[in-house]
Symmetry: C2
Subunit: 136 residues, 2 copies
DNA sequence: CAGGATCCTAGTCGATACTG
DNA sequence: CAGTATCGACTAGGATCCTG
């Protein structure tokens, strides 16, 4: 017996919807690569394998928490490998897998679209911001 | 004399870096389309223009706050247009612009890569999760 | 050198209530 | 119908300290 009306209905709809969305491969991948640091790490490793500290230096502003977290996620997704060399000071190398390399074109596609249309976006924003009428 | 050493140095480095990153077109676009609702709105409007309430119904689980926020952002970026018809109950139509339509292939590219490799990712995750040796 | 554990802040998102 | 405004829950992310 439903005390619920619109509110709970929407809540349930949302749950169902989220479940559906969570299944969607595009969403999952989008979640994966949309991360701020993921693309940066991917690009950094595009040139070849790097050590942890090299990555940290290369990406500069990243906290080690985020770097480690990002690397772990990418490793988990099979996009890169983590190789530990138990030398005196431990050495860890990260490198893209074959799968990891196949995603580079996608990132490139995004980059190309971006570079092609970013000015249009900026223009649109500019136009939108100090908007219409007679403002200056 | 500066009390700061490594800490503040890194903070400044990060600021500089963030400023640089903020300039990057790819980053900006990635930020724009990586949003949970953006792709959904984009896809919903791919079929043609829709009214606000239609969008709300179509996307189902979205709160009107998020929907409005997403629509405003996309309008600001020039990806869609907002047309107000001052009828008795106000009517507002949203529709993709030419620019908005050009980004659909990019989303499609992501979707295709996703569908092609999502099983590999799942396998990698599965492999990574109950991980190593012979454990299960 | 590489990273785990903690604490804490700032931005995100949803629910609710109200407006034109 | 199509929003705006506000509040509170949640969480991502950064700083710091500590370990193997």
């Amino acid at each position: 017996m439903p005390t619920m009306t619109a509110a709970q209905r929407r809540a349930r709809d949302r749950d169902l919807y989220n479940a559906y969305v969570a299944e969607c491969p595009s969403r999952q991948v989008l979640d994966a690569i949309s991360d701020k640091w993921v693309t940066l790490v991917l690009n950094a490793l595009a040139d070849g394998p790097l050590r942890y500290s090299d990555l940290a230096r290369r990406i500069a502003g990243v906290s080690q928490k985020m770097l480690t977290q990002t690397l772990r996620r990418l490793e988990r997704d099979g996009l890169l490998t983590r190789t530990i060399t138990p030398s005196v000071p431990v050495r860890v190398d990260y490198q893209l897998t074959g799968l990891g390399e196949t995603i580079l074109p996608v990132v490139t596609a995004i980059k190309q679209w971006s570079e092609a249309h970013i000015d249009a976006i900026h223009a649109a924003r500019d136009d939108y911001d100090h908007g219409r009428s007679g403002g200056q």
